[in-house]
Each structure stands twice: as C-alpha cells, then as structure tokens.
C-alpha cells in the first residue's frame, strides 16, 4: 500500500495515469475483438437452428442506440452550438477544466478591422479564467452589447452568441477543425470572428457629441443598409457591469437601446412622411395657413406655427404663411399646413401610410443569425374616425404617433435611395437587399430636393456647410415630460447620397439647436474618413 501511495504521488504518475487510460480503452477494445474472434466457439451450436426475426430486432436496437449516441454527441462534442447550454455551464459549472470556461469567443471588429470585443485571460483567485474585453467601453455598450457569465448576453454578443462560441460547423473544414480539437483534446475552443458594418470613429464621435445628454444617433448607407453608427446614451461600461444596472430601477434606463427601441414623438421630422403621402397621392395645390392657426373643432386648442409663438414672445405681430405649397410648408415646417393636409386625406389614408412606412413592426438587423438583433419601428395606433383632432396632431408627429431613431434613419435612407428603404445590416457578411418601398421614386426625388432646401434656406440652415450638400428635416417634439426633444433626419451629399442619419437628443429644445449640429459634425467626419 505504501508503495502504491508513493507511486501515486511520484512525479511520473500523471504520465503513467494517461498511459493507463489508453491501456484501459485498448484492453476494452481487445476484449470486444476477442468476443468477435471467439464467435464460432460461442455460437451455441448445440441448440436449435436460430429462428428468424431476432436478427431484425437486434438491428433495430443497434439503430436505436446509434441514434441515441448521435444525439448525445450533439451535447457532448458540439455543445458550443447550444448557446443556452454554454451559458448554463459558464454560470453554473465549477469544473475548472470545462472547455466552456475557456472558449475563446470570436472577436468583433468594425468594418475597418478595428477591434470592438475580444476574450482575454485574467487571474481569478490563483486560477485563470477568460473574460470579455471591450476596448471602447461604453461607446458600443448597446450595439455590441456584452457577454458576462452572470448577466448573460445582450446586443451583438447575444445575437451572434452561437457563431462567437464556435457555432454549428457548416463546412467540411469546420467539421475537420471540430474533429481535430476533440481528438487532440484541445481545451481552448475558438469561436468565429465577426466583422460589423459599424465605424468605430464615427460611433465614438456620436457618443461624445451626445455627451451627458440622453439621446441616440443612427447612421446608415442608403444604398446597401450598412449601419455605420448605432449609438445610444446614457450608456454603461460593458467591462464593468454592475448589479444595479439590472435591478429594473435604474432612473436613467442605461440598458435601453434608445436608437433601436426608444419610442419618441417624432414631431416635425414626421412631416417627411406626410409629405410623401401627399406627393404619392399627386398633391400639387396650395393650402391657406393663417397666423391664427387651425383646429378641427372650437373645443380644441388651435395648432399654430412656431413663428406665431416666437413673434408673440418678442411682442411682434406675425401675418402667417398665407397660401403656400408643399415645398414651402416643409421648408418652413408649417404645422398648420400639415395638420390640414393630414385631416384632408383622412383617417384611412393615414392608416395606410403608417403601414407603408413600416410602423408597428420589428425589423431584424442580423437576419442570418439564429437569434436576431432587432430594431423596432414606431407606434401608431388606429385613430378613431370621429377623432379628427387626433388625426391633425398625428399629422404633425405629435399626439398618438411615436417613432424610434432607427426607423427615422430608415425613412431618411428611403428618401435618399429613390423611395426604397434598404434592409438595415450590422454584419458585413450579409448581402444587401431592399427592405420595402416606402414611396414612389418621383416622390423621393422631389422630397429630396425639398429637404435640401430645408438646410439651405429653411429651419435647418444653421448647419448649412459650404461644400457639403446636406439635405434634412429638423424636428422639435413636444412631450409631457419636459423640454421638447430635438430631432434631425437627413442625408448627404444631396445629389448622390451615401449616408443617411437620424439624431435624437432628449429634452434639448429645437431640432436646429442640438440634433442638427451633431448630424453635421458626423457627416463632416465621415467625409474626412472617406466614407461620404
């Protein structure tokens, strides 16, 4: 016994033990081979000739056991293709040698190859473990998300969980790689790297521009839907997740991705939608827009233009826009005009427009992954036919209408892309494809030139930049919780648009004051980086 104990504690024992392991398996196989070679001697010839049917029963059993072992292999050997299972092991398994703790999740890159997320070894109480590292910290908190053993996964880390963990092998080479790892007992499974369409420099600029304010920036290419910026503030640092973030009582809602899931009254940027509805219907006349405003019933407060309020505030008198056409109304962002326009076309036409512009949906940003990262579009409930004032409010993007920044960016992209909204994409590997036609091509081109004039001579003229033809629409959305939200949607260059953008800054007042300058700065930076 002492001898055995000494042997087991001696230096060569680990090697010996591995040898014993191999010997055990070989001996068991040899035993099976002996059974086979002794089959003649053990065939029970002294009994009757074998009855038929029992061979079939045995073949059935073999098939059943083989099927069971094959299923077992999908857990035991290619368990990385089960994201729930990997998450369970990473959270609940105490075996240090479990490969699940050692998966080198694939890295995430932006479209220029800038590193956005990687796995790193770190020491934990004398042992090493693997942890996810995000070089940009909170900048990509929502878009890239996080993968944490306790808090789970979010954002791209969640959507691409299977691929990042290694995924289901789908080519011969990948099967070969899985086989090599299993046979050589390579305990460091390596996931697949993914390249995102995002641009780290632009994203960082957007994040910094929003600063301490709550808001969101979405920027994408109108022609192929590649998303360059998907920023949301306030954010959190995915390198240092804290429990309070997940308590559900965070007053600043830092977990909320405002870009894809934040619902805001769109205010005047929604006039682009109404203008498209009217142009599609062949609208070409003029409407009278008195300074006194417009209402559907004397019982309701009049809808007036912002010039009315600013004139009154300065103690001046304002004559109103008079009879103006659609282009003038859009450039001046006339509430009276669009309220009248919306009520004139009626509830049914408005409902159809809401459908055509994809309200009340969710849209996958990563359609090729098993679990999609999604954006939601705005919400427009059915407005009762008797509620004409509600329709008037909705027509100027107030009242019942809510929109997400991502959807407004998609609408700007559709105007820039001849009326067709592209499928928004986060993965470079996914082929571009159109999502839906939101308006006629002719409407889109007329709307585009109107939006160009909004910046050159209208409400957006503060951001007019020599040499960069920005087209856009400002928005100042009243809301019950405080100062108006500042919106800007647009694209550039107007003649040959290559980037569309939507900016929202919560409670920051006029669209031209907060949101539009952010959009301009980003477009300038994009031009500097050769992305425009």
């Amino acid at each position: 016994m002492d001898l055995l104990n000494a042997l087991f504690q001696s230096a060569p024992w680990p090697t010996l033990r591995a040898g014993l392991h191999v010997a055990f398996m070989l001996a068991a196989l040899y035993l099976l081979k002996q059974v086979f070679s002794l089959r003649a001697a053990t065939a029970l010839r002294h009994l009757a000739k074998p009855r038929s049917g029992f061979g079939v029963a045995f073949a059935g059993l073999v098939l059943l056991f083989a099927a069971m072992l094959a299923y077992q292999a999908t857990w035991q050997l290619s368990g990385t293709s089960r994201p729930d299972f990997v998450a369970f092991m990473q959270l609940h398994d105490r075996r240090q040698f479990n490969p699940a703790h050692w998966i080198e999740r694939g890295r995430l890159f932006d479209h220029t190859g800038e590193l956005l997320a990687e796995s790193r070894d770190f020491a934990r109480g004398g042992e090493t473990a693997v942890r996810r590292h995000y070089p940009y910290g909170p900048v990509f908190a929502h878009a890239v998300g996080y993968a944490h053993p306790r808090y789970g996964t979010a954002g791209m880390e969640a959507a691409a969980n299977v691929s990042l963990n290694g995924g289901r092998p789908d080519s011969l080479a990948e099967w070969g790689e899985l086989g090599r790892r299993l046979i050589t007992r390579d305990k460091r499974p390596r996931g697949r790297d993914l390249t995102l369409t995002l641009d780290a420099a632009l994203q960082q600029a957007a994040y910094r521009a929003l600063g301490e304010r709550a808001g969101a920036v979405v920027m994408l290419r109108p022609d192929d839907g590649a998303i360059r910026v998907l920023a949301s503030t306030p954010a959190f640092d995915p390198n240092r997740l804290q429990a309070e973030l997940f308590s559900g009582r965070d007053p600043r809602s830092r977990l909320l991705n405002r870009a894809t899931h934040g619902l805001y009254p769109p205010g005047s940027v929604f006039k682009v939608v109404l203008a498209a509805q009217a142009l599609d219907a062949g609208f070409s006349s003029r409407l009278d827009c008195p300074a006194d405003g417009y209402t559907t019933s004397p019982r309701y407060r009049k809808i007036r233009d912002h010039e009315y309020y600013s004139a009154r505030g300065a103690g001046r008198d304002w004559q109103g826009h008079g009879r103006i056409g659609l282009d003038r109304a859009l450039i001046k962002s006339s509430n009276v005009f669009f309220a009248k326009l919306g009520v004139g076309y009626g509830h049914d036409a408005f409902g159809r427009t809401a459908d055509r512009f994809l309200f009340n949906r969710t849209i996958a940003l990563t359609a090729s992954l098993s679990k999609a990262q999604v954006m939601r579009t705005g919400r427009i409930p059915r407005i009762a036919a008797s509620d004409r004032y509600g329709l008037a409010q909705a027509a100027i993007g107030q009242g019942a209408v809510l929109a997400t920044p991502a959807q407004m960016a998609l609408i700007a992209a559709a105007v820039a892309n001849g009326g067709v909204a592209p499928q928004p994409r986060l993965l470079v590997a996914e082929p571009p494809r159109p999502l839906a036609r939101l308006m006629n091509a002719d409407t889109a081109s007329r709307l585009a030139s109107m939006m160009r004039r909004v910046v050159s001579e209208g409400t957006g003229r503060v951001i007019e930049t020599p040499g960069l033809a920005i087209a856009g629409k400002t928005g100042t959305a009243e809301n019950p919780r405080g100062d108006a939200h500042s919106w800007f949607i647009g694209f550039a260059p107007a003649g040959r648009p290559t980037l569309a953008v939507a900016v929202l800054v919560e409670h920051a007042g006029y669209g031209s004051a907060a949101a539009a300058p952010i959009a301009r700065d980003l477009l300038l930076l994009a031009r500097e980086r050769g992305l425009l």
């Binding site: 087991f8 392991h21 055990f24 002996q34 009757a48 035991q76 609940h92």
Partner: protein, 458 residues
C-alpha cells in the same frame, strides 16, 4: 449428459469453457487497469489509499472467478459470453461508484461490497440448477407467478413509505424489482400454453381474438393500476414492452407490436394529461432551459460533465462527477461519459448491445418455446431498461428514473438482473439428450413429458 467422451469430467468441462475464461480474464484485466488509474486519484486529493480500497476489485474478481468455476464444475454447456460481458459492466459500475464515493468514508457497507460478487454467484448457481431443461419446471404454474407478482406490489404498498405521491421501499429491498422476472415467467408460460389461439387472427383488418387475450390484459391492467398507485411508470413501460415483445415472438405476429404501439401512444397521452410528474418530466425533456437550476439541474449537470469530458475524457480521477446530484444510481452513465468521454460512452453502449445480442441469440436458438419466450422477455426487459436509462440521461427520451443494469449502485435491481441472466443462461444450456442412460428416471420422465407437450404444440 455431455456430448462426447472428450468433454467428460472436470478436465473436459474446464477445457470446454476456455473461451469464457479467456474473455473473463481480459474483462478483469481491463477493470484492473481502470481501477489502478482510479486509486491514483486518492493521494492527489489528500486521501491515502488503504488495503480495504482494493476490496471492491478483489470481491468482483473473486465473485466472477467462483461463478466461472461453478459453471465448469456443474458441466454447464451454455453461453460463454454473458458472464464476461456482465463482468465488464459490473467492473465499469464499480469504477464509477468508487468515484462517486460509494465505497469511501462510510462504515463498511455490505451492500456496496457484496452485492455484485453475490449476484454473479447467484447467476451461476441459478444457471447450474436450472440447466439441462430443468428451467421448464418454472412453466408449470403460470398463475402462481401472476399471484406472486401481485403479492410483491402488495408488500411494497403495505410496507413502503409515501413520499411526494410515490411509494418507495424502506431501506435496501425493493420487492417490485422482482416483477421483471415474475411477470416474464408468467407471460412466457401463459403464451406458451395459448400460442395457437393467440396467433389465430381474424377479420378484414387482422385483429387478435380477444378471448385468449383477456387473462393477459386483465393481469396487466391490474398490475398497471397497482404500479400507478406507487407511481412506478418506468416499471410499467418495461413490463408492457416485455409482454408485447413476448406476444409477438410467441405468435410470430408483429401486429401485436403495432396495436401495442397504438395502445402505448394512448396511454402515454393519458399519463401526460393526468399525472403532474409525467408532465413535468416531459416539459423538462422538451425545454431543459426553462428551469435550469430547478427541474433540469440534474440532467444539465450530467451534460455539463459529459461536455467537459469531451471525446476521450480525462480518465478516472481527473473529472468532478460528484457535481451531478445522486449520479451513482440513475446518472451513472453521465459519470462514465465524463470520465472516459464520448468514447467511453460508446464502449459501454457496445457492451450493452453485446449483452442484448447474446440474449436474443439464446431466444432465437432456444429448443423449447417456453425457453424462447422467457429469453425474449428477459431481453426485452433489459433492452427497455437500458434504453430508457441511457436515453433519459442523454435527453433522447424523457427521464424515467430507472437504474442502469449492472452499472448503477443498487440492491434489488442488481440481484433481479443477475437472476434474469441466470434464467437465460439455463435456457442456453439446452435440453437433455433424448437418449439417456438409465439415470434419474423420474426426473427424465417429467422432462420427456414436457418435451412431448412442447413438441405437440409446435
């Protein structure tokens, strides 16, 4: 008794059973290799091994050696693979159970050390006693087996403890485990007597005549009711599979399996509707991640161990199978698949298939119809139990909580498994030669009558 003069006497028998000895030797060598690897884990964890730690291995080797000698001494002519195959399976069980701490730490428990050697001896003794056609005495009193079966459940219902709606045996003995043998014997005897009537199907859509079936159906429904009282659904499935397989084998009508399949589907649906614990098992099976730290904890921990083991495993002593709750009984397969990897799992499955192949061969070659039926029944019981256990642990089918024959830690289930194999071994010995020397005339008379009866029925 023996076929030729060359194999007369101990030396002849010794010579004749050489294949069994050779296979048994290699099985024990394999297990010893594993056991050495296992013992090596002790000092690493700060546990110095003592002489007593060798006892499980020595007990196993001694038990199987004695069983082999017993078969040789009695001039047993039958199967030579079952004994080594079960030796390997029991050895794998000893290895896994040692890992789970069944043998360590507690005061010397006889159940831990003695059950396997005793079982091996019981199997050999049973085979030696019932060989040479004597097993057919068991066919004499079909209804005696039926009564015994009902009585066994009765005993459990009276003495057992209620726990969460089920009835469990107190301590070591679970009398209902014996049902796997008694019900097979009853059905084999009954079907043997009524084979012709049961095989006589009529109607445009062929359907069995119900009159000869009623006793079987009545008996099974009674058992079903009693077993449902104690919530032993795994046993219900095993017995149903055994009955249907024996009916199909005895009448050579596969239609019994078809109609039985319909009945099973209906019964499964009713079970799902009316039993909470069936529902929760099925839900755990379909959606294991709905309650990962609750109802799915055991199966997910089992998978976690298997995933850590990978293809080759870390060998005994490296892995941490104790993280899987109560793995030494139902989940022993997860332990082996963790320590020896997927390869070890395949190996174990191969040995189980070998066991089943031998049982089916015995059934296919049995000289008497009763022997064929009994061997089929034993094979069906083993096949169902093995499949439900392995399938349950690998989530291929819902978990039923059955033990894995020979490998799981257990008392009654293990002894019943050995006894069933003893019966199969006895059947494989064959019948006494027709022309006999004038020895034990009375016994021969009985056997000859039985043979004549069997022949008349065929």
């Amino acid at each position: 008794m023996s076929r030729s003069a060359a194999s007369e006497g101990f030396a002849g028998h010794w010579q004749q059973r050489a294949p069994e000895r050779r296979l048994l030797f290699w099985a024990l060598v394999t297990i010893t290799l594993g056991y050495t690897m296992l013992l090596g884990a002790g000092p690493k964890d700060g546990y110095l091994i003592r002489s007593i730690d060798l006892l499980p291995l020595i007990g196993l080797a001694a038990g199987y050696g004695a069983a082999h000698l017993l078969l040789v001494a009695s001039g047993f002519r039958g199967d030579q693979v079952l004994l080594p195959a079960t030796a390997f399976l029991c050895g794998a069980g000893v290895l896994a159970q040692y890992r789970m701490g069944v043998f360590i730490g507690e005061p010397l428990s006889m159940t831990g050390y003695a059950v396997m050697p005793a079982g091996a001896l019981l199997m050999a003794a049973g085979a030696a006693m019932a060989k040479n056609g004597r097993y057919r005495l068991l066919a004499r009193w079909p209804w005696g087996w039926a009564l015994l079966s009902v009585a066994l459940i009765g005993v459990l219902l009276v003495t057992g403890q209620r726990f969460r709606g089920g009835v469990y045996a107190v301590g070591f003995v679970t009398p209902t485990e014996l049902l796997k043998l008694t019900v097979v014997l009853f059905a084999a005897a009954y079907i043997d007597l009524n084979a012709k009537a049961l095989a006589n199907w009529r109607g445009p859509i062929p359907f069995p005549r119900l009159r000869p079936l009623w006793p079987l159906i009545g008996f099974f429904v009674l058992l079903l009711g009693l077993l449902l009282l104690q919530r032993d659904l795994g046993m219900v499935v095993i017995l149903a599979m055994a009955l249907l397989s024996m009916l199909a084998a005895g009448t050579r009508r596969a239609g019994y399996l078809v109609y039985g399949g319909f009945a099973a589907a209906g019964a499964a649906y009713l079970g799902y509707r009316f039993f909470d614990h069936v529902q929760s098992r099925v839900e755990t099976w379909l959606e294991p991640f709905r309650d990962p730290t609750g109802s799915s904890w055991q199966i997910l921990q089992g998978f976690t161990g298997m995933y850590s083991g990978g293809l080759w495993g870390e060998g005994f002593s490296q892995a941490r199978p104790r993280y899987t709750p109560i793995a030494e009984s139902d989940f022993i397969y997860a332990v082996i698949a963790e320590e020896l990897g997927f390869a070890g799992g395949v190996l174990l499955a191969a040995f189980f298939l070998l066991l089943l192949a031998r049982l089916l061969l015995i059934a296919a070659r049995a000289r008497s119809a009763f022997g064929m039926l009994a061997a089929s029944g034993v094979a069906a019981v083993f096949a169902t139990q093995i499949f439900l256990n392995l399938g349950g642990v690998t989530k291929f089918v819902p978990l039923t909580g059955l033990t894995l024959p020979f490998v799981s830690h257990g008392g009654s289930s293990l002894l019943t498994a050995f006894a069933s194999l003893g019966l199969a071994l006895a059947i494989s010995d064959g019948e006494p030669a027709r022309k006999k020397k004038k020895r034990s005339a009375s016994k021969r008379g009985t056997a000859a009558t039985a043979t004549a009866r069997g022949a008349a029925r065929r």
